[in-house]
Amino acid sequence: MLFLDVGLNRGRFRLEVRLECDEGVTGLFGPSGSGKSTALGIVAGLLRPDRGRIVLDGETLYDGADGVCLPPHRRRIGLVFQDSQLFPHYSVKGNLLYGLKKIPERERRFAFDGIVDLLALRPLLNAHPRRISGGEKQRVALGRSLLASPRLLLLDEPLASLDTGLKAQILPFLQKIRDELKLPMIYVSHALPEILQLTDRLAVLDQGRILAAGRLDEILQRGSEARHFGPDNILAVTVELHDLESGCTLARFGNLPLVLPLRTDQEIGRTAYVSVHRGEIALSRNAVPELSIQNQWPGRVSKIESRGSGVQVYLDAGVPLIAEISPRAYRELALQEGEIMYALIKTRSFAYLAARTMLDQSASP
């Protein structure tokens, strides 16, 4: 278990982070420049904070008051960078062995062959790092970190430089590390769907501060942090029924019934995370009968914000929703704060992020 409470001043940038991470995966979510990598650097020991305390499994790694600051090579914390950073003068095998060979046999947590097989690295062992693909590099970087027997693995946007297809190829490996090796991980990303593939326990970081931490559905319930998740509305919904005949999955969002695209792999009664883009939500003064749009929810307009080319309308439908409409639509509707509007959302506008069922497996130690 990691306890982190640190502060750092770098000119205009100020970082104040307090975070506790249990077993399993903790997501660290935030836009670029929010201080995610800085926070990881502090945990790994690459950056020295100005004040605070870092404790890992009962061992103090940093204590500003006592002047304790363990150097990175004594922390046994693995770090995987976005761009692999494989050693160009070693082969893939040499990279994998770099940390491993200096660790006494009885202190090794993972066997070489086990990790090589887990990450499917055997065909690459004799290759040169420059001669393998981006996805392969990232697998080697993962393996190299794991073989150094870390107590905690930090992943700094490990998929950000890979294209979508490759991301999907690496994720199963990360899930394997989570499920088979039971290694605590902190996963940093600015892409919420990516984090949700691994965990829904996360902390939201913005401008050097933790805005919210906990399980995503609980964070969403509190509502105030919804705007930090980018242009998508993220909804934690309860799956109720798969209606094969009508081709829909029915769910409940707070007190609202929800019609979603059919996805039978989402377990009934469980929480699923779905997203809908702000621009995909239409507003209407009345419910519209005889319309193909299945989801029509009344809500009170709590705030109207004109930003750039769009008008952001904050709607309180028992749960917070944000719709983005054009300034023209805003003028014609003569929208006022405090009035009741219907949010109209097409079934097909919803995208599934992840189901808690899958994430639950990670929570059990």
Binding site: A44, G45, L46, P71, P72, H73, R75, R76, I77, G78, L79, F81, Q85, F87, P88, H89, Y98, G99, K102, I103, H128, P129, R130, R131, R144, S145, A148
Partner: protein, 229 residues
């Protein structure tokens, strides 16, 4: 082909240059690394002092060495009385003059090579459990190898051609401090020795050319090793 005097000059030049490179390589690597990777008080001053011989007239450098390391110089006296070592007017002094003159080239080459190394490679190594010493010897130094080679060869070539500081500091003593350029200079000052002067000039040019070609080949080979070809 060559007269014994010419052989002696050539041999002496090679000896001085080899010793010069051997002497400045370790401190050059250390200082290059410090300048590339560390921030410390007085860094600008250190840099200025190291680079001074590049912009000063070599005669001035030689004269300063003479003042400091000559028999009556503060450092020279201490060396002579304390350790029984005398560098003035000996080939060892020629090594020192060459070293001071070529040190900036070595430091610059190492510094450039090391500043081009991605710092996160070193950070990655440290998170894998490598202490500062292992990081330096297993990551920084091998990755800076092309720069080290360039620095060594440039220093070697600079040392082969050293004239001003050497003649001012240790004089022009045949068989002791008369290196190739000094011998060439001596011939040009003596009537009727155009032929050996020309021979030595050609040898100098060949040596410089060989050094540059060698540098190119070695650098390319080191870079190829890093890029996996």
């Amino acid at each position: 082909m060559l007269t014994p005097e010419e052989w002696s000059a050539l041999w002496l030049s090679l000896k001085v240059s080899v010793w010069c490179v051997a002497a400045i390589l370790p401190p050059g690597v250390l200082l290059g690394w410090l300048l590339a990777r560390k921030q410390f008080y007085g860094k600008a001053l250190v840099e200025a002092v190291v680079h001074l011989p590049m912009v000063l007239p070599p005669v001035v450098t030689g004269y300063m060495l003479l003042l400091a390391l000559g028999r009556n110089g503060w450092l020279g006296r201490w060396l002579h009385e304390g350790l029984g070592v005398s560098v003035a007017f000996s080939w060892k002094g020629a090594v020192i003059a060459s070293a001071v003159m070529s040190f900036p080239l070595m430091v610059r080459a190492v510094r450039l090579a090391m500043s081009l190394i991605e710092p996160r490679l070193e950070q990655a190594a440290s998170t894998l459990g490598a202490g500062p010493l292992r990081v330096f010897f297993s990551i920084t130094l091998p990755l800076a190898a092309p720069g080290l080679v360039t620095g060594a060869i440039l220093s070697f070539a600079r040392s082969l051609g050293e004239f001003g500081a050497t003649i001012t500091f240790v004089g022009n003593i045949e068989g002791e401090t008369r290196t190739l350029p000094l011998a060439l200079y001596t011939y040009t000052q003596t009537p009727g020795t155009e032929e050996p002067a020309l021979r030595l000039a050609l040898i100098s040019m060949a040596a410089a050319f060989a050094a540059l070609i060698g540098s190119e080949i070695l650098t390319r080979r080191a870079e190829q090793r890093l890029s996996g070809d």
